[in-house]
């Protein structure tokens, strides 16, 4: 069980402050309200210096005496009180679905529920995160467990010492909450971190003991990496000063995964500070790899309309304006095809382990 540490006490104070503000307004006979930073595209900007997507300063007052806001106002306070009472006080964590169930009940004297669907509570949780400036993990909420990790390093997880060099074929399952009070790094021999998009390639690299030979940490996020994986990467880069390399499919989705790891996402811009890794490097697949590594043409897949539109959008993003990135994306569009990590196996089952990655890292052939 997690101990109610300093962090939890700080979070509890933030929630209390929120309510204090509301009570104060009521006493002054003012329409009580909660200021909620706006999470829309309009309030998001890319900071080219920090190389991060960050949330701006715009806020909206969610007041009680407003027909269109009353219900949401009530829900925000309800969730705040449940987090404090049920989670922070007991030191337990739970899922957002669980929190929805915990706070759902009938509003007295009506046949209306406080929440009708989880769709209603999820955005209010995000509102609460930004309103009190506390990450979801600080509110003791976890997302689904996804991803695994092995490598030249030992960690301590809730007091258990785990040697990531001796995790067999399975690896350590990365939890959703990886804050320093729960997870600590020990005996680090790794020189870099390699984040792989797909678990099949991770398994190949683990089987080939790539991390042993190249002294690295090897982790995957089963597609778009979940919060735990991103936060862990960010912590390793910041606390251990390790470079992070991202190894994804050559398609717009792969570019997007890389960009979220690197500068954060638009709709979760408020997490960038803790999640984003501006120094992350893209080691492929690149749209130039097919020629460079002489892959046969029948391993390519035609771009569909959605791919093409998505790629064209990416071309306009501020964080993809560097010449190499423009060349990379334009080359994909010109060729009209995408390429999966599995395509490398066409050369040899261990081609990625033995040739592709060593060459990319040695020749510093990454995109930044």
């Amino acid at each position: 069980m997690a101990r109610a540490g300093t962090l939890d006490r700080e979070t509890a104070t933030k929630l209390t402050k929120l309510a204090d503000h509301v009570v104060g307004q009521i006493r002054k006979k003012q329409n009580p309200g909660i200021d909620i930073p706006i999470r829309a595209l309009s309030n998001v900007r890319f900071d080219p210096k920090k190389r991060m997507i960050e949330m701006g300063q715009e806020k909206q007052a969610r007041t009680f005496f407003n027909a269109s806001m009353a219900r949401k106002f009530m829900q925000t306070l309800l969730l705040a009180s449940a987090v404090k009472k049920e989670l922070l006080a007991s030191g337990k964590t739970t899922s957002i679905r669980d929190l929805y169930y915990m706070t759902k009940h009938t509003v007295q004297g009506t046949d209306e529920n406080t929440f009708e669907e989880q769709d209603e509570s999820d955005p209010i949780i995000e509102d609460l995160e930004v309103a009190v400036d506390a990450l979801r993990e600080e509110l003791h909420l976890f997302a689904s467990n996804k991803g695994a990790m092995v490598g030249d390093m030992t960690i301590v997880d809730q007091g258990d010492t785990i040697d990531l060099r001796r995790m067999g074929s399975g690896g350590w399952s990365i939890p959703s909450i990886v804050e320093p009070n729960l997870i600590q790094f020990k005996k680090v021999d790794a020189k870099f971190v390699l984040l792989v998009e797909k678990d099949a390639m991770w398994r190949r690299l683990n089987e080939d003991k790539f991390w042993q030979k190249h002294h690295c940490v090897l982790l995957h996020g089963q597609g778009q990496p979940p919060r735990g994986v991103r936060r862990l990467c960010s912590r390793m880069v910041n606390e251990l000063k390790l470079p992070l390399y991202v190894f994804v499919d050559n398609d717009p989705w792969g570019y997007y995964i890389y960009s979220v790891v690197k500068q954060g996402s638009i709709n979760l811009a408020y997490e960038s500070q803790r999640m984003a890794v501006p120094s992350a490097r893209f080691v492929g697949l690149s749209s130039f790899d097919k020629d460079k590594f002489k892959l046969p043409s029948n391993v390519t897949i035609k771009l569909n309309d959605e791919d093409t539109n998505r790629a064209k959008q990416l071309l306009n993003y501020e964080w993809f304006q560097s010449k190499p990135w423009q060349a990379e994306i334009r080359n994909m569009l010109r060729q009209g095809v995408k390429l999966e990590l599995e395509a490398l196996s066409k050369k040899d089952i261990s081609f990625a382990t033995d040739e592709y990655l060593p060459k990319k890292l040695k020749d510093k052939e990454w995109l930044d």
Partner: protein, 575 residues
Amino acid sequence: MMGSAMPKRKPPTQLTLVHAEELAKKQREISVSEFFAKNRHLLGFDNPRKALLTCVKEAVDNSLDACEEARILPEVRVTLRLLPGTEDRYVVAVEDNGPGIVREQIPRVFGKLLYGSKFHRLRMSRGQQGIGIAAAGMYSLLTTGKPMKIWSRTGEKKPAHYVELQIETSTNEPNLIRKEEVAWEKVHGTKVEIEIVGKYQKGRLSVDEYLEQTAIANPHATFVYVNPEGDKREFRRAVEEFPREPKEIKPHPYGVELGVFMKMLQDTKARTLSGFLQSDFSRVSSSVAAEICRVAAVSADMKPSKVAAGDAEKVHKAIPTVKIMNPPTDVLSPIGEANLLKGLHQQVQAEFYTAVTRPPSVYRGNPFAVEVALAYGVKDWPPDDLVRVLRFANRVPLLYQAGSCAITEAILDTKWKNYGVSQSKGALPAAPMAIALHFASVWVPFTSESKEAVAHYDAIIKEMKLAIQEAGRRVYAYVRRRQRDARQLERRSLFERYIEEVADACALLTKVDRQDLMKRLQAMAEQATKLHEREAAKEEKNDNGDEVLKGTTTLVVPENAQPAQLELKPAAQKA
């Protein structure tokens, strides 16, 4: 030039010569009865079911027309009887309390096509062409060989006449089989009995539906209907006043075609062009006639029959450039907004009713008026069902050929989405709604002699759409008002509902007193609701919903009203 363009071929001259003369021998005149006997589907006798309906319709139309001309409130009895031992032989009997028909006229009225009082004048009536009832007799003759039976009496001191007759199709003349004076308990009125091959079936396109709709459009008439199963239904009159009497009218100059105009010049009794324009047209004063002649640069004093073709054309061209009043309103006899609304309310249970009678307009020289009654929020409406359309022309319901009718087109063409009603492309709107549209004119342009659909004249469709749009705006205003009412109700309880939850959460987070907080919040909620009512009032001012309904013939049915409790006083009436 044709010779060079076409391949040369020796024509078989001799053969041709003979043939032209042979052909000539075969040429013959065709009687109009022969024509319609062969083409009887043109008159609505396509099949046994429709034939039964058409017989009833023609007889009822005649009864109502006769009663109205004589200013008698009509009482019409319709009886359908299946001949015992048969499956398809019906006797149709229609009896009225009208003025009766004088003995000498009976044979020609019932036994001759294209004979009647209504064709040669411009006056709003149900029958128009002098075909209807005689055609029913002809159909009877064709399918059963039986004569028509007619009883008629014109007054207390007159005897009642009984006549049996058949139409002689090769000459289009009546063939009298029997005539006698009989005892009849009716003081005045007419009864006709026709035996035909028919088919009776309830539901859509049935005699039942026809009579229900006839009752809507004729709220001053009482109908008694006995169906072949012996069930009797009575449609009692809802209004005790006569409709305004329609008047005969001269053609209006707008829309008269050149050829017709030239013929009228030849046929007129007027001695000058100016006099002709004044006497043979409606709404032409001497100054209007003078202005027409001035624009045409033709002398107003010319003898009409001497006006040369070129001059006639100039005058004809001048007419549309001169402002001429619309035909007088009082020639037509619209049902009227209040009466049409009452009629619809009796047949259709709904939340909201409204009716619009447009001022008269003109097509091809004929005045006409369009009326629309609309019922919205019809009870027990199957979801996604299309709107129900009731079509009327001169108070007669139109059941067949909805697809080719101008009324349908006008409803289809209206952009219902503007009125908050959903509509797929090219389809009728989908809503719990019934629309009754009445087209009244001194001459209804039907698409066929069976009088089932109004022809597509731009001027007509435009008026129909204007009426429909007005009704549509009112529906929208009503729907908006209803939504607003619902919103207001909700706002009032909204804050109170959540006060306890908010107080609980705050108490848990801050340790303040829960009861104190609730008291404060309740006080504020009362304030806030008042504030919001003010805001809502402002909002409503911008929304002109109520403005739209003000002064219109509109009826809103309270949600839990029992039909019997309803007093049928439309909210407000137009002058």
